[in-house]
Amino acid sequence: MALFEARRLHKRFGDQVVLEDVSLTVMHGELRGIMGPNGAGKTTCFNVLTGRYKPDRGQVMFDGEDITGLAPRQVARRGISRSFQIMSLFDEYTAIDNVVIALPCVRSRGWSMLRDLGRHASAYDEAATLLQRVGLAGKEHVPSRSLSYGERRALEIGVALAAQPLMLFLDEPTAGLGTEGTARLRELVESLKRHLAIVIIEHDMRFLFSLADRVSVIHWGQVIAEGTPTALRQNPWVQRSSLGGLSS
């Protein structure tokens, strides 16, 4: 059974249709790529899938439950986590505090007003382990706004992972990263692959095609092609379009 299923989503802003009849199935442990030109509706698609916008029509199922139109916090609590294309961190907080705040064990104590969060040592241990996993060991106490661009990208994913999701959405994780940063990110994503379902929006075709099990191509708010990277390379539309330069 699919872990995540979006059925025939429609979304319009005013008279502009941004998603039209978009369907997407993601299996447990699958790594799914979404590609498409700028303005094709990829990020809107993410925003509908993760609860930021309500679809006008259609249904989103997750783990056997209808989550259509739920608020972001409710979607998050069911085990869907996401990173943002425009980085979205708690800038004043140190790297470790960014992660700590996102941990479910801290969230469940969020209404405690009289104990010192700093004494919740196990949360900090857990967060430190997670920072190590995303390559930020040694940066625990650096305010996130003072981290380098690549480190902030890694922390974005760290915060998303802190929620212990069943499913992770990454919105253009390589944006602005150099070759070295992209290589490190690839390692990270590879280490996560199979542990949870991942959906990645990406411009970097080589990055996406080397990692994804299946890729959906979105254009004009519609899924115009879908398949394994190998199959997609043969797709005449993909070859014809500006997305084609995959052979290079």
Binding site: P104, G110, D116
Partner: protein, 341 residues
């Protein structure tokens, strides 16, 4: 352990220094040309400013009509005394509850907003309540206000103390302040306080890691209103009266100025410093000129323009510089000894 978390003990040096300075005030006030009542007022305003800063500094919620909750507390203690025969502690708790209830209603209308919209709504609600205080004669006494608000004696079991003198009232206010101070210090470092601060930094991210942003903002407003009401009830007892003035936009503006000048955006202690500076400036500048608020306003503008982090920010910057200098010296010394070895 490289990742040892920052912990915040319940009692810290700044807390002890603050309380020590305030507790010794009756000894030295007169020798520096001050008087007991002004100290009462300063401590009450410190409490109000701390309550306000829970929203402005810690929660990033610009509440610019906060005089309303201070005022609700002030009127509530008068009404509770005069209509329900309330004493000291029950009257104060009742006032805090009234302010919390009003705050809960207002917060329900505004907690989905932020930034300038939030600020405008708080001002609007504040003005509504100021207007109610002026117009609802049968309850608030209109422009004449509520008179003859008493300072009931403090009773603990068999013992009782009269609080009618300014000095004894000061001790009582200081004790309440100390409790509020320790409570708020704990609150801002608790999970709840840290989540609130996270929401201030990035509401959207907080929602996407699963927090109910609305409810946190709402609860912060209610708590802040309750503590503001508590301060207001002390203020009414200090003045023996409550006037619409306490709810005015003026008063709401004063508390914002205290918080910002003191440095509430960067430090827990900002409101404490700011309230003292404000009331002292009022008394000291006020002795020379009627237009003290003009000079204070210019000072405020200068702070916002040149030192937006306030007095506490200056202090922090100085400490950082000193620390950096010391570290640099340390490294230099280490390098020298290495060369020599």
């Amino acid at each position: 352990m490289p990742h040892r978390p920052p912990t915040f003990p319940l009692v810290t040096p700044p807390l002890l220094v603050t309380l020590a300075v305030l507790a010794s005030a009756p000894l030295w006030l007169q020798s520096v040309g001050l008087y007991q009542y002004v100290a009462v007022e300063i401590v009450i305003w410190m409490m109000f400013a701390l309550a306000h800063n829970l929203l402005l500094g810690h929660g990033g919620m610009p509440s610019f009509g906060h005089g309303a909750y201070f005022g609700v507390g002030a009127y509530a203690i008068g009404l509770l005394q005069q209509r329900a025969g309330a004493g000291l502690v029950d009257g104060m708790l009742g006032s805090a509850l009234c302010a919390a209830a009003v705050g809960a209603v207002v917060a329900a209308f505004i907690s989905h907003r932020r930034g300038i919209y939030y600020a405008l709504l708080t001002i609007a609600f504040g003005q509504v309540m100021w207007f109610v205080a002026i117009k609802w004669h049968s309850v608030t006494g209109g422009e004449d206000g509520l008179q003859k608000i008493a300072r009931p004696p403090l009773r603990l079991g068999e013992m009782g103390w009269s609080l009618t003198s300014n000095e004894s009232f000061y001790w009582f206010v200081l004790a309440v302040f100390a409790l509020v101070l320790v409570f708020l210090w704990r609150v801002v470092h608790s999970p709840w306080g840290r989540v609130l601060r996270a929401i201030k930094q990035n509401e959207m991210r907080a929602a996407f890691v699963g927090y109910n942003v609305w409810l946190y903002k709402w609860s912060a407003f209610v708590l802040s209103a309750a503590l503001s009401g508590l301060a207001g009830s002390l203020f009414a007892m200090a003045q023996n009266s409550a006037y619409p003035n306490v709810m005015s936009l003026h008063n709401s503006g004063f508390v914002v100025m205290m918080v910002l000048i003191g440095g509430g955006l960067v430090s827990f202690w900002g409101p404490v410093i700011g309230a003292a500076v404000f009331i002292l400036a009022r008394d000291l500048l006020g002795a020379y000129t009627e237009a003290w608020l003009l000079w204070y306003g210019l000072l405020f503008m200068a702070v916002v323009l040149f030192q937006p982090e306030g007095i506490a920010g200056v202090w922090q910057a100085w400490r950082r510089r000193r620390h950096a200098a010391a570290t640099a010296r340390g490294i230099g010394a280490a390098a020298t000894s290495e060369r020599e070895a």
